[in-house]
């Protein structure tokens, strides 16, 4: 078991982070807004943590670990910064709908990337490296990652059943009808957008430590598409969909890599699993969208399971 954790600790924590990033994209989607801004806030949170831990806080003495309190402060700063920026961007951007909002948020992600490539404080193209470690090994990040995932999932689960959540759903189903019934569209859209941004920013702050380094290659447009895939494959109509999508799609390439190590496999199959794992990965995603057009988890499926349970 210890060996399993040494080898897959990093992967397991990455899966948890991916699940939360998928949730951060799912939150604006609850109001029917396709926003791809999450990677921008993720990058922002990462830079905040990277700069604070390497330049603001006193250097960690050799052989000691980075105090956890500092990490929590960084997460808090990242959350506040992401929230402020999200409100600032959200109010004008959310006047756009559908594909135009998606485009505007892609532009935001690009702005963050180009800024971080050019600013002295973000280390330009090389980025910031030598970020101190608050834990002894990668798996111990679960002490932060697991509570974060449980809290955020529980939060979204409760949200879906609250007054605000029903307002979100109403906006998603029919904005005009919802507005006529007294739901404030701007307020609710900006709220969902901001919640997604805060989650992405906080995950970014922890990720900077987790990856040891932070640069402009983190949280790019490619990442936005990946998060969208998490949501679409997992299911975009219930909170469990994005979580499962993030966990599954992050694990899949590495599981395929590990499968090659199975002893009784013929050599060419093992070789194909190593070299062709991305082909299989792509194929599985394509098949999933064909056979599960609503995503792996749908509200109907949850209802059916619930009925069987009673």
């Amino acid at each position: 078991m210890a060996e399993f954790i040494t080898t897959y600790g990093f992967l397991i924590v990455s899966m948890v982070f991916a699940a939360m990033l998928a949730l951060s994209l799912y939150l604006p989607l609850m109001t029917g807004q396709l926003s791809l801004a999450s990677p921008g806030f993720y990058a922002l949170g990462g830079y905040i943590a990277a700069v604070m831990s390497t330049k603001v806080f006193p250097p960690t003495p050799q052989g000691e670990i980075f105090p956890l309190v500092y990490l929590l402060i960084e997460m808090l700063v990242a959350a506040v910064a992401s929230a402020l920026l999200a409100v600032l961007i959200g109010i004008p951007a959310l006047r756009l709908r559908g594909i135009y909002l998606a485009l505007a948020t892609i532009a935001f992600v690009e702005v963050v990337r180009v800024l971080s490539l050019n600013l002295e404080i973000t280390g330009k193209a090389i980025g910031i490296f030598g970020i101190p470690q608050p834990f002894l090994n990668k798996f111990e990040y679960m002490w932060i990652a697991a509570p974060m995932l449980i809290l955020s999932t529980w939060f979204v689960y409760r949200l879906e059943r609250s007054r605000v959540g029903r307002a979100f759903a109403a906006l998603r189903e029919d904005e005009l009808a919802a507005t006529a019934m007294g739901v404030n569209p701007t307020y609710n859209k900006v709220l969902s957008f901001t919640m997604g941004a805060v989650l992405a920013g906080v995950v970014g702050a922890v990720s900077a430590h987790f990856l040891n380094t932070w640069n402009a290659r983190q949280g790019t447009f490619d990442a936005a598409i990946l998060y969208l895939a998490f949501v679409i494959i997992g299911g975009s109509r219930t909170y469990l969909g994005p979580v499962l999508g993030g966990l599954l799609l992050t694990a899949l390439p590495e599981v395929l890599r590990a499968l090659a190590g199975v002893e009784f496999l013929p050599a060419f199959v093992a070789q194909f699993l190593v070299d062709g794992r991305l082909i299989i990965y792509g194929l599985l995603i394509a098949l999933a969208t064909i056979f599960f057009p609503q995503g792996l988890i749908t509200p109907t499926m949850l209802k059916r399971l619930a009925r069987r349970g009673t």
């Binding site: 040494t6 080898t7 990093f10 193209a125 640069n215 949850l302 399971l305 619930a306």
Partner: protein, 394 residues
């Protein structure tokens, strides 16, 4: 009504996942081949470089096994794909370390090294970087070294070579791709070299690797009438910039950065590529016994001259093999457990000198390469304007 929902299927799925993953640990503790890890980018947009590294490492594996491996015990490469990102590098490193390798050659990019090398340092596994050229790589830890000379050492040679070709150079125009990590660190070196050589840094123009139109930058620079242009970018944009410089009437010498150090720029600037001067950490023309052998094998397999990336990967594997042989001569490897082997191997890697295809190399105590010789090549395009060669002028 959701209270009754029991996620049995997910739990079952998780069990299958865990079972699938744990089968990895059923490896036999065989006495036989010594495993050396190679973690480079075999997929993503960095794969072109990574593939060259895989070829170089595999040639080294076959070559040294034919020579008897480590005092009779063969070596075996364990290849893992890092892809082009940081998380991929960490995943590849953890997989490879769990596979009981004695050392790792990799990763491809410097940013990946900043991410994955601390893991190897923590696990006390020696790492030799085959192509990380950024500042600060060997300083990541005592187990981290590199066989790729840092850009600050290699690049100035091209400017010196240009001065030899045209001693009248006074004003220099520098261009660089500001969104590329390598180009933006390389240009700092170029600019420092220009100033150090007493030349006038007339202008610094920036562009993006995705740009195709450079007329603004070229017009700005040519207004100052420079005699030398220095371009740091990647193949497509760098090649286009060179072409537009020439089309706008620039007649001086052009020095290219390492991103232009590939035959892939020939189709971009075609006949106008002629004369670009590029500094090299490796020359296929170097007349040493080991390089001649390496060059012959590479040409037989690939039908072209070996590039720098393959030679550096070869050198990485070679350093591990030769250090293992010296270690085995003093303490037989069978008597050592894996952790001790790794620790001692690191000491032996740093202590030795090696006759590699790159020429004679050794290491500083921190793991930085000490390379005896650098080269400068100039592009000579053929009559057809489509093909060309790098001819070594220094």
């Amino acid at each position: 009504m959701f209270k009754a929902y029991r996620p049995t299927r997910f739990i079952l799925f998780l069990f299958i996942l865990v079972a699938a993953l744990s089968t990895q640990f059923v490896f036999a503790q065989d006495q036989e081949p010594i495993k050396i890890g190679v973690a480079v980018a075999q997929t993503s947009n960095v794969a072109l470089l990574g593939q060259e590294q895989v070829i170089g490492a595999q040639i080294a594996e076959a070559y040294f096994n034919e020579k008897g491996g480590v005092n009779g015990r063969p070596i075996q490469l364990v290849l893992q794909d890092t892809a082009g990102d940081e998380a991929g590098a960490i995943n590849a490193f953890t997989t490879i370390i769990a596979d009981n390798v004695v050392g790792i050659v990799g990763p491809t990019l410097s940013q990946q090294a900043f991410s994955a090398d601390p893991l190897a340092e923590q696990a006390q596994v020696p790492v030799l970087a085959p192509s990380n050229t950024a500042r600060g790589i060997p300083e990541i830890g005592e187990y981290i070294g590199r066989v790729s000379a840092p850009v600050a050492v290699v690049a100035p040679n091209a400017v010196r070579a240009a001065l030899e070709l045209d001693p009248n150079i006074k004003d220099v125009a520098v261009f660089y791709a500001q969104n590329d990590a390598f180009a933006s660190s390389e240009t700092t070196t170029f600019q420092e070299t220009v100033t150090a050589l007493g030349l006038n840094l007339a202008t610094v123009q920036t562009f993006q690797t995705t740009d195709t139109d450079f007329s603004a930058q070229v017009t700005n620079a040519l207004a100052l009438n420079p005699q030398l242009a220095i371009v740091s970018g990647l193949a497509a944009d760098g090649g286009n910039l060179v072409r537009q410089l020439r089309e706008f009437g620039f007649t001086g010498l052009i020095v290219g950065g390492n991103g232009l150090n590939t035959a892939n720029i020939f189709p971009v600037c075609q006949a106008l590529c002629d004369g670009i001067i590029i500094a090299q950490a490796y020359s296929y023309a170097a007349d040493t016994p080991i390089n001649n052998e390496f060059r012959t094998i590479y040409k037989e397999q690939q039908g072209k001259e070996p590039p720098q990336f393959s030679a550096q990967a070869f050198a990485g594997v070679q350093v591990f093999v030769e250090a293992l042989i010296r270690l085995d001569n003093i303490v037989p490897l069978e008597t050592l457990d894996l952790a001790t082997t790794r620790k001692l191997l690191n000491v032996f890697v740093l202590a030795g000198g090696y006759e590699t295809p790159l020429g004679p190399i050794s290491f500083t105590p921190t793991g930085e390469i000490v390379q005896a010789q650098y080269y400068v090549a100039q592009i000579k395009m053929n009559e057809d304007g489509q093909t060309g060669v790098f001819t070594f002028i220094r």
